[in-house]
């Protein structure tokens, strides 16, 4: 039959524009939205400048880190319900150890905190892969444990951040640069190299199709643990930012839960698919600032702060529903 068989046509490659839209469309849209919101904010406030920017950047920094922490795990096809609790733990431990520490000691404490959260988070990933329990169960159970541990260690609100250290992380009164710098540094020096390494590709691979990833030689268990490890690094930074911003440790379950819920919201709004394998961490970072900006804009517009909470929830639902709706339309075609 071969002599009569027609040549099966080689598919034409998709155009560069289509590819860019497919890969970066959401993030670009989000960046435009953020720019628009910042512009809106600048028209609301007289003498818009360093002070407001610092409030925005420093205020959103914690959420940005937590969103990154959630994002990595979601990309790997999992979910991490313990990000908030681990952040609270990092906050409490670092605040306790920094209480009477010098600047240099504080730096050491900060480094140890990040290493500690990375190890704890990695341990969590290890438990998930070894036990075979669903990640949602393990991280939920450890959410309790971490909050309890934070409370146990600090015994109640307390501890104190080293003021110089705080300044270095979140900047002074009207200085947005340190916070911005830290965010960029962590993103560019930790995330990007990881993302383009073989381990990073493997993270995306196990989120996209675990069976195929295994067949291509990815050691799935190791890659999952690595995703939690990196997530722990970002959580550690989130905890340090909290310490710097609050100036103390606050072992509260509500803080943990709030951070957790916001992190999931930021990840979804940031265009990372909850099913895993798709999306970029820049999305959740931008989304974190969008979510930080919206309440203050609404407040300035004279909207009641309670209504602002309500609107925030609505916005998330509407965005996600819109996503679901578009996906549905695409499938029908």
């Amino acid at each position: 039959m071969t002599e009569v068989a027609p040549q099966t046509a080689v598919p034409r490659p998709t155009s560069a524009v289509a590819r860019f839209r497919q890969r970066n469309g959401w993030v670009v849209g989000l960046a435009l939205l953020l720019a628009g919101l910042i512009f809106l904010r600048s028209t609301q406030v007289a003498n818009f400048g360093g002070f407001e920017l610092r409030a925005l950047v420093a205020g959103g920094l914690m959420l940005a880190f937590v969103a990154m922490a959630q994002g990595v795990v979601v990309i790997s096809g999992g979910i991490n319900l313990a990000v908030g609790a681990l952040m609270v733990l990092a906050n409490c431990v670092s605040a306790l150890l920094m209480e009477d520490a010098s600047f240099a000691m504080s730096i050491l404490v900060a480094i140890l905190t990040v290493i500690g959260t990375a190890l704890l988070s990695g341990l969590m990933g290890w438990i998930i892969t070894v036990s075979g329990m669903p990640d949602i169960v393990v991280t939920l159970a450890l959410h309790f444990t971490f909050v309890g541990l934070a409370l146990f260690i600090l015994g109640g609100p307390g501890g104190r951040a080293n003021p110089d250290f705080a300044n270095m992380i979140v900047g002074g009164f009207s200085n947005p640069w340190p916070a911005l710098l830290w965010l960029s540094a962590v993103f560019c020096l930790i995330w990007l190299p990881f993302r383009y390494s073989r381990s990073g590709i493997a993270t995306y691979a196990i989120g996209s199709d675990r069976q195929a990833a295994f067949l291509t030689g990815v050691i799935v268990k190791r890659a999952r643990v690595k995703a939690y490890l990196i997530s722990g690094v970002f959580v550690g930074f989130a905890g340090l930012v909290t310490t710097a911003l609050l100036g103390s440790g606050s072992p509260q379950g509500t803080v943990a839960l709030g951070a957790l819920l916001s992190s999931v919201a930021a990840v979804v709004l940031g265009g990372v698919a909850l099913a895993g394998g798709r999306g970029q961490l820049l999305g959740p970072v931008l989304a974190a600032f969008v979510l930080t900006l919206i309440p203050s804009i609404l407040l300035s517009m004279g909207v009641n702060s309670n209504i602002a909470t309500l609107l925030q929830g609505l916005i998330i639902i509407v965005v996600v529903m819109l996503g679901g709706f578009l996906e549905m339309k695409r499938r029908k075609l």
Binding site: I136, V137, A141, T145, G148, L310, G313, L314, V320
Partner: protein, 338 residues
């Protein structure tokens, strides 16, 4: 069809499963057995330290505290069975309790109906988002939570629809704190009714079959003519109603309402369903296990209290116990999530 073709049965006839395998299979199919043993053990240990548990009052207090948790966990269980989860149960409960308390002036029955309707309405919205718009249950219910928090806050503000005087109706206070007979608190009656209904519904009704089936394989359901979105909507409406009832009972027990009074039960409700052996991935489990799960967690809290452990230690142990039980369950059943 009298073909003698070779069968490719997975268990060849000459290989009878070993005793260990049979025990394992039995325990896999009946996780409630293991869990009941754990419960009895916990209860015995706690009672040894605190003999009041052997009294009628002691038993009553456990049942009284377990009831709201078990009602939340009931909703969580059926959400799990469809492969979902509901993180808005606590806020639905708070909202419903508020509505009942502030509308009690309009008559107790009206208030109660309104409360249940609020739960059903929130559940309906959850169901529409999850079933029709295919929003991930986690996101939909987190979003719903924050919307409801906003609604409650707005309603509470002066001039809002929840700003009137909040009086928890007498009926709820009776149900939340009264005693039927001996060690059985009145709220356990509500719980018993819910349990009987749920267990029957899951095992012997078309809806129950569909709930399991949707969680196990939604595509197969669609091709078999089941409208998955209908099943999901009904499921989340039931979850919402259960949450509302739980919220009302909690307000009855405490005699007051607060915008976050049920929140501390959110994660335990998930934990109770998990250790009760219901798969968070959907398709297997049941409410029987969850009942025992709720009892175990309640006794565990009591044990911590008896030991004088602070809130910190309590939380830590809580997490570790949930982890250990879930681990044991996976190890015995060998049903790994991956």
């Amino acid at each position: 069809m009298t073909s003698t073709a070779p069968q490719t049965a997975p268990v060849p006839a000459d290989e009878v499963p070993s005793t260990a395998q049979r025990v394992r299979n039995y325990l896999t199919d009946h996780p409630i057995v293991v869990l009941s043993v754990v419960f009895v053990l916990f209860y015995a240990v706690t009672a040894a330290l605190d003999p009041s548990l052997f009294t009628v009052q002691g038993l009553r207090s456990i049942l009284l505290l377990a009831c709201p948790l078990a009602l939340f966990a009931a909703g969580q269980t059926i959400a799990f069975l469809t492969g979902g989860i509901d993180l808005s149960v606590a806020m639905i409960a708070n909202f419903a309790a508020y509505v009942v308390a502030t509308q009690s002036g309009a008559g107790t029955v009206t208030a109660l109906v309104l409360g249940v309707a609020v739960g059903a309405g929130a559940g309906l919205l959850n169901g529409i988002g999850i079933g029709i718009f295919r929003v991930h249950p986690l996101i939909m219910t987190i979003g719903m939570s924050s919307v409801l928090l906003g609604v409650v806050s707005v309603g509470q503000a002066s001039g809002g629809f929840l700003s009137g005087s909040a009086v928890v109706p007498q009926v709820l206070q009776r149900i939340g704190g009264g005693t039927l007979i001996g060690p059985i608190p009145l709220n356990a009656v509500v719980w018993a009714v819910v349990s009987v209904f749920l267990i029957w519904m899951l095992a012997r009704s078309g809806l129950g079959r569909n709930i399991y089936a949707v969680g196990d394989n939604a595509t197969a359901c669609r091709l078999s003519g089941i409208k998955v979105w209908q099943v999901l909507i009904v499921t989340y409406v039931i979850v919402g109603i259960l949450a509302a009832v739980a919220g009302m009972i909690i307000s009855g027990t405490s005699g007051s309402v607060g915008p976050s009074q049920s929140n501390s039960l959110l994660l335990p409700s998930i934990a109770a369903a998990v250790i009760g052996g219901t798969s968070i991935l959907g398709g297997s489990g049941g409410y029987g296990g969850t009942i025992v799960g709720a009892l175990v967690l309640t006794v565990l809290n009591r044990l911590m209290l008896t030991l004088g452990a602070g809130q910190a230690v309590q939380q830590m142990v809580y997490g570790i116990i949930v982890l250990a039980l879930a681990w044991a369950y996976v190890a015995v059943s060998r049903q790994r999530a991956d």
